[in-house]
């Protein structure tokens, strides 16, 4: 992108995108995911936040892979996303079952393991 702009003769007014930028995005996504997981009560939304956390970790992996010229980052993410998809299917199946029991998607409906 920077290169395209530079070919058009336009001076590169912005900095080069460094590793830090990508990590910053990844961390922001992760934190949003954590906060969402901790504050929302809806089971599906909580699961959405966990997916966010997954993808944030994936972004970080790809960024490291790009800047250190190592394929490991990308290949890891392919596997992680695949597993995340399978796990999402399972989790949503569980959520459906839980919903059938309590007629609500609220996580607060399940407190029977109180010690």
């Amino acid at each position: 992108m920077m290169w395209l702009l530079a070919q058009a003769g336009h001076p590169a007014a912005m900095h080069e995108a460094t590793l830090a930028h990508y990590l910053f995005v990844a961390v922001a996504m992760f934190v949003i995911g954590v906060i969402g997981f901790l504050t929302r009560r809806n089971l599906i939304v909580m699961f959405l936040c966990t997916e966010l956390m997954f993808l944030a970790a994936g972004i970080a992996a790809i960024a490291f892979g790009r800047f250190w010229l190592d394929y490991t980052g990308q290949s890891l993410v392919i596997f992680v996303v695949t597993v995340a998809a399978a796990e999402a299917a399972m989790a949503l199946a569980l959520v459906v079952l839980l919903f059938r029991k309590r007629e609500t998607l609220s996580a607060e409906a399940w407190q029977e393991l109180k010690g």
Binding site: L38, R41, A107, Q111, L113, K114, G115
Partner: protein, 771 residues
């Protein structure tokens, strides 16, 4: 079987440390037969034998043991023999660098047979046989498991007594000591449904235990010093000390050796019921009369006397031991006599007289009259057993009546003649009437007391006690056996129409109506009231077993007097018993024995058997006066000649007093002239009747503090010990309780926990990286 073969082989081959025990091997039969009796009677109990078989088994085994002892005596030629049984306890540890070369502890199941042993075993087995025969009839109402149980304990008792008397080491003696204590407990508590009997059994056992502590410590101390607890080794090692003693060099004797007899005597006092451990013996009369006769008159209570006689060499080594023994014996004799004068239960009176006569024996040992003491043991065994058996016959026939205010003229009732004669002979002996066996034996002790310097005080107190003894003995005789005929049945009347038998503590018998309203005294549990109108009570005269035993004993008691006149084999004095004692470890030839004028410096002659110790002219220094060599005198006369007459006079005074107060002018059973005198001595007599409140004193001094202490300990246990344990349980609970809120069951809570942990971890990593 191999053990038996070993025993037989050991018997016929040279045994350890002794001569070839050809004759002494027979003595192994004594414990063997009595143990056999125990086993067979136990089998009878298991098979629920309902007849008198256990009695006949016991009598058979005991007769066998008596025959074995008699045969050994007949073939005995003096000296000491060891009959080796089997190796019981043998520890060897070598290279012991401690003093005395203690490299081993050996206690074998072997017997040390010398003349003292034979003397004791003769009367123990003889009396045991006769009393077993007596008991076969006396206990006959109890046939069944109780009968078997009685004879099991009886045979076990004789076995233990045999171990005690015949053992060749102090551990076997201790085994027998404990065994007789156990059997005493079992037999006193024979009527276990009666609370007073159970309490008496416990009292006897516990007081014996106190004495046993002293004995155990003495045995341990003996081992520590002499390196062995076998008599042969001890006597051998004590020889240098005895030499020092005879020359008056008491400083050369180590203190430990002097402490040993002080400990041993505590054991003797406990077992033989002397001050302060005598209070169990009167209570022990709760047991059946054969038990009282055998155990608490003739055999077990003489174990203390035997212990001192056997370890006499050790007692001679301490300046204080024998005088203490003498004084304790004397005081006990006097105290018990005063109590006996004021009791109404004839068995109790006999019990106190036993305590008193045992005091005489101890006093005899203490004044260096071991012959007199042994002779008194011998004669006392016979006549006291006879007295108890007569009282038992009375109790058996009158349904448990023992109060002398409720019985009179028994000797004149039909069928009671032999009992009356036996009682009369026994009373004469106990009172020391001239020419009875009791007279001679008591006389020996009294004469020695006055002869030995420094012991005259003992002599006077014993003489006074002799007068009191004569009084209370004939009080019983004049009240119960002669005079107007009268009787009241005792508490144990379960009137079945066909036999006016007593029953001890049986519940659930059908009760017939009975003419008498109340009975004084205690209730043998479970007898309610309900005695209505007219069934007559008939006294039950003794049967053939009781009568024959009493007759045999009467003859034996009269014959025992003859033992005084038989010349002993070694030419010493003191009659047959003297001969037996002189060739044993209990020999001490006091130089004052015959004459006051001869110098005491020369060694006294002694029937020199290998083990005899303690002769030579010296005396324990407590006995010395300024002029060594002058014996004591009785008011200026030679005690040996004069004492015959003096004690006869004293005895006669006592009998006369009893006659005047209890026979002359008495028309009823309940009152006699003595009751008229009562207001004059009032308080003293009441105190004496309440046994000088000694039991109450022990209660206050010992039992109450112990009770308080035990409550204190209980509190400590509850608060401190349990508190600590509870604390140990409390901590995990508290910790768990504090962590439990973390498991709330709320999903967000867990998520928060995870996130928080992650944050903490990141902080730590940051700090570590940039620190």
């Amino acid at each position: 079987m191999t053990m038996l073969a070993d025993m037989l082989a050991a018997m016929t081959s040279p045994a350890t440390g002794g001569k070839v025990p050809q004759g002494a091997g027979l003595m192994m039969l004594v414990p063997a037969l009595t143990l056999l009796g125990v086993v067979l009677c136990t089998l009878c109990a298991i098979f629920r034998v309902k007849n008198k078989l256990p009695a006949w088994i016991s009598v058979g085994c005991l007769v066998g043991s008596f025959v074995a002892v008699a045969a050994t005596y007949a073939g005995f030629d003096g000296g000491a023999k060891i009959a080796h049984g089997f190796e019981w306890i043998t520890f060897h540890w070598s290279d012991a660098p401690v003093s005395g070369g203690k490299a081993s502890f050996v206690a074998n199941f072997s017997f040390y047979i010398d003349s003292l042993t034979l003397l004791w075993m003769l009367f123990v087995t003889g009396l045991a046989t006769l009393i077993a025969l007596y008991a076969s009839e006396y206990m006959s109402h109890d046939v069944g498991t109780g009968y078997c149980r009685f004879f099991v304990a009886f045979c076990l008792f004789v076995f233990s007594m045999a171990c005690l008397v015949m053992g060749d080491n102090m551990l076997l003696l201790y085994l027998g000591w404990e065994g007789v204590g156990l059997c005493s407990y079992l037999l006193i508590g024979y009527f276990y449904k009666k609370p007073s009997a159970v309490a008496a059994a416990k009292k006897a056992f516990i007081m014996n235990r106190i004495g046993d502590l002293g004995l155990a410590l003495g045995i341990m101390l003996t081992f520590v010093h002499f390196g062995s607890i076998e008599y042969t080794v001890i006597f051998e090692k004590a020889k240098p000390y005895l030499a020092a003693m005879s020359e008056g060099r008491y400083g050369d004797i180590p203190t430990m050796v002097k402490v040993i007899p002080l400990l041993l005597m505590v054991g003797a006092f406990g077992k033989s019921a002397q001050l302060p451990l005598y209070v169990w013996l009167p209570d022990a009369m709760e047991g059946p009369t054969p038990v009282s006769a055998l155990i608490h008159a003739a055999t077990m209570v003489t174990a203390g006397v035997y212990l001192i006689a056997r370890t006499y060499p050790l007692f001679l080594l301490s300046e204080w031991a024998l005088p203490i023994v003498a004084w304790v014996g004397t005081l006990t004799a006097f105290l018990a006599a005063t109590i006996g004068m004021a009791q109404f239960d004839i068995k109790r009176i006999m019990a106190y007289s036993t305590v008193s006569q045992l005091g005489y024996m101890f006093a005899g040992l203490g004044v260096l009259a071991s012959t007199g003491a042994a002779f008194h043991v011998f004669t006392h065994a016979f006549f006291k057993a006879m007295l108890f058996l007569s009282c038992g016959a009375v109790m058996h026939g009158f349904a448990g009546q023992l109060d002398l205010r409720k019985l009179s003229g028994v000797a004149f009732m039909k069928g009671w003649g032999i009992v009356g004669i036996a009682m009369f002979v026994g009373c004469l002996n106990l009172a020391g009437f001239p020419f009875t066996a009791g007279y001679f034996s008591k006389d020996m002790i009294l004469a020695e007391a006055f002869t030995t310097p420094g012991m005259a005080g003992i002599g006077w107190v014993l003489l006074l006690t002799a007068g009191l003894t004569a009084y209370y003995t004939f009080r019983v005789f004049f009240r119960v056996f002669v005079g107007p005929k009268y009787y009241e049945p005792g508490d144990e009347v379960h009137a079945h129409a066909d036999h006016g038998h007593d029953s001890h503590g049986h519940d659930g018998h059908a009760k017939d109506s009975h003419g008498h309203g109340e009975h004084a005294g205690d209730h043998a549990g479970g007898h309610g009231g309900g005695h209505g109108g007219g069934h007559e009570f008939h006294p039950h005269a003794p049967g053939w077993a009781i009568n024959s035993v009493l007759a045999i004993l009467t003859v034996a008691t009269i014959a025992a007097a003859g033992a005084y006149f038989l010349k002993p084999a070694d030419g010493g004095h003191g009659g047959w018993v003297g001969g037996m004692v002189h060739s044993s470890s209990a020999a001490f030839e006091s130089p004052f024995a015959h004459h006051g004028a001869e110098g005491g410096a020369e060694g006294g002659a002694n029937g020199g058997a290998g083990q005899a110790q303690g002769h030579a002219g010296g005396l324990p220094s407590a006995f010395r006066t300024g002029e060594a060599g002058h014996g004591g005198t009785f008011l200026g006369w030679d005690p040996h000649k004069v004492m015959y007459y003096v004690s006869a006079v004293v005895g006669a005074v006592g009998i006369l007093a009893a006659f005047v107060l209890h026979y002359a002018g008495r028309t009823t059973a309940a009152r006699s002239r003595a009751d008229g005198l009562l207001p004059m001595v009032g308080g003293v007599s009441r105190l004496a009747q309440r046994k000088w409140l000694v039991d109450e004193l022990y209660d206050a001094l010992v039992r109450k503090p112990l009770w308080v202490l035990s409550n204190v300990f209980h509190l400590i246990d509850k608060l401190v010990v349990d508190g600590l344990v509870d604390l140990a349980g409390f901590i995990p609970r508290a910790v768990g309780g504090s962590i439990r809120p973390a498991q709330s069951g709320v999903l967000h809570g867990y998520a928060l926990g995870m996130a928080g942990g992650l944050a903490l971890f990141l902080v730590i990593v940051l700090l570590v990286t940039f620190a």
